[in-house]
């Protein structure tokens, strides 16, 4: 049976092989060419960042020749930033805020997702819907009342206010992703654990977290992205350089009045984009999987 099908297929294939094959081949080349054009367009700004960061201030202000290429590459901008106390401070603040935000968000969202996916309680359905809707609330909607609230807590110009506020941006989506992953774990597993005498927290720790590790990684990356790149809250709530994080620090420190130290600004952008780029380079698959799974379940 399968032999005849295969024979027929070969015969048909041989008949149409040339034209079809060639057509496919051209479609493939066309796709590659079009993709290459897009990649080129997408990578122009990062390329320009890199080029500018390698130029000395003199070369930038000379304004001669192609701005796209660097004639005398130098690392002086990077060296300046690495030894510049303010920049070190911003980096440290960003790292502290991000680590705390990610930990807090993950604890809150894993606990909540575990409960929402497994233990029904009064209003749990409503809460799941509410979590999803909260994700749709953009930061720019509430930053003004939050300014007042943060002020009354005495946390204006204190980067701890970010640790308090960033979880509101990260937790809803992390919870949403985790609910999806936890729901896909077969119920037999927790029944088995209960019969063996495990408590809920043991069950979460020994079964759910290890099994849903890809989801946890995706959620962690999301929380990291939010807290590393956020711009509005730190811009609105922080104003002295000892409290600033990278995104606002670069803009307010390296731009003084009308003097733009573009070489240093671009070098700072590169250094600040490094952690996300490294993380995405290694863990992109998890993140994309988590993101698309979260959206399709919506």
């Amino acid at each position: 049976m399968s032999a005849t099908v295969a024979e027929r297929r070969i015969a048909v294939a041989a008949h149409r092989k040339n034209s079809l094959h060639r057509q496919r081949q051209w479609a493939l080349y066309g796709s590659y060419a079009a993709l290459a054009v897009f990649v080129f367009m997408f990578l122009v700004p990062p390329f320009y960042t890199l080029m500018t960061s390698l130029k000395s201030s003199a070369e930038i202000s000379a304004q001669t020749g192609s701005p796209w290429l660097v004639k005398h590459p130098t690392l002086e901008n990077f060296w300046y930033l690495i030894t510049y106390p303010n920049f070190q401070r911003y980096y440290m603040n960003s790292v502290i805020v991000t680590i705390l935000t990610v930990s807090v968000s993950m604890v809150i969202s894993v606990l909540a997702a575990f409960s929402l996916s497994r233990m029904g309680f009064w209003g749990s359905q409503l809460l799941s819907t509410g979590v999803f809707l909260t994700y749709l609330v953009p930061p720019s909607l509430l930053f003004i009342p939050l300014f007042q609230i943060i002020g009354s807590l005495g946390l204006i110009n204190n980067f701890w206010c970010l640790v308090l506020l960033y979880p509101t941006l990260a937790v809803p989506f992390c919870t949403w992703i985790m609910i999806g992953y936890f729901s896909s774990i077969p119920k037999e597993l927790d029944e088995a654990a209960l019969i063996d005498g495990a408590g809920y927290l043991q069950m979460l720790w020994k079964i759910f977290i290890p099994v849903a590790m890809p989801g946890i990684i995706a959620a962690t990356i999301f929380a990291f992205t939010v807290s590393w790149g956020a711009f509005l809250y730190p811009l609105a709530y922080l104003y002295t350089s000892n409290q600033m994080v990278l995104t606002v620090g670069i803009i307010s420190d390296l731009i003084r009045g009308d003097v733009f130290q573009w070489g240093k600004i671009m070098a700072a952008c590169l250094l600040a984009s490094l952690p996300p780029i490294v993380i995405y380079a290694f863990l992109m698959d998890y993140y994309v999987a988590g993101l698309t799974a979260g959206a399709t379940k919506g």
Binding site: V107, I108, F114, P138, L142, Y200, W228, T247, W262, V288
Partner: protein, 315 residues
């Protein structure tokens, strides 16, 4: 939480008070108490920093500038009559709708191109195409600003090489509007691409085979097979993107700070300027609140459509 560490099934000695209840009921009750306790941090977070601020914003928006007197809807009325604010409404809608449409179209094209090439090569191309989306937006916008720089614009240099005159990228209203949209499209297209690519991969191959047997050609397959199968994910992606684009702050703030002549201001940047920089908190709060009905409207219709379709599929 303490209860959660030891959950017995039918082995605990019955308590005297709850003696009438069956073990199963008690188990269910305990389970729901634990469930509630595990959700408590989430509930507190949302209540304190999302729901309370939302109501507080409504209250704030009805005060006068010094926050001493109640003025009702005065701030909203004042804003609507102001020419700058009318520009804000127009630019916000233009910015959001144009960007989202462009992002959706480009993302769809890219997803198709990616779907055409063999799987093992997809990873590297995807990695390259996702770069704009990986760099924090505030930082990449700085680069764009530098490329649009009036005195030493990298784009103008290229134009000059081809014999064109300099373009005042961020100096003229409509060109600046175009620039903000371009940056947004550059940043957001990769997100659409990965979403659509995932959706494309989930369309069963048999549907295409069946369509081919019925004599459908490429475009018919796209319209009658691919698009209907992807409708939900397209709707969700467009909704996410519409909300983030509509509420965008970073691009406009860094690139133009609302200028020239307030022509590029969107709700968020205008609220920042009025509320934080000029210190008129109530007016800023009122300005932000204008976003809410628009976002809620979009969310309601998209999500209703999605749930309806999900039910149809399930039925």
């Amino acid at each position: 939480m303490v209860d959660g560490t030891s959950v017995p099934i039918g082995v605990t000695a019955p308590r005297s008070k709850a003696g009438r209840k069956t073990t199963m009921q008690k188990f269910a009750q305990r389970r729901s108490t634990t469930g509630f306790l595990l959700c408590l941090p989430l509930i507190l977070l949302i209540a304190c920093f999302v729901i309370y601020p939302a109501f507080y914003a409504i209250y704030l928006s009805m005060l006068n500038k010094k926050m001493t007197a109640f003025v009702g809807l005065g701030n909203f009325e004042f804003l609507l009559k102001r020419h700058t604010f009318q520009l804000v409404i127009f630019q916000s809608c233009l910015f959001a709708i144009t960007s989202v449409v462009l992002k959706a179209l480009l993302g769809f094209t890219l997803a198709h191109l990616m779907h055409n090439i063999p799987g093992k090569n997809q990873k590297i191309w995807r990695g390259l195409l996702l770069v704009p989306w990986v760099i924090p937006l505030a930082l990449s916008t700085l680069t764009w600003w530098w490329m649009f720089d009036p005195s030493y614009s990298a784009f103008n240099w290229v134009l000059n090489q081809f014999g064109f005159a300099n373009v005042p990228w961020l100096g003229v209203g409509w060109i600046a509007r175009f620039c903000t949209i371009a940056v947004n499209v550059w940043f957001g297209t990769p997100f659409f691409m990965i979403m659509y690519l995932a959706a494309l991969k989930s369309v069963p191959e048999q549907l295409y085979e069946a369509a081919a047997i019925d004599g459908a050609h490429g475009i018919q397959k796209l319209i009658f097979v691919t698009l209907p199968m992807m409708r939900n994910i397209i709707a969700i992606t467009v909704l996410f993107s519409l909300i983030t684009t509509f509420a965008d702050f970073d691009i406009v703030r860094i690139l133009t700070a609302g200028g020239p002549q307030d022509m590029t201001h969107v709700f968020a940047t205008y609220a920042f300027q009025v509320g934080i920089q000029s210190g008129d908190i109530p007016l800023g709060a009122a300005d932000s609140l204008f976003m809410f009905p628009i976002l809620a409207f979009a969310a309601f219709f998209v999500l209703r459509g999605v749930t309806q379709r999900t039910k149809e599929i399930a039925a």
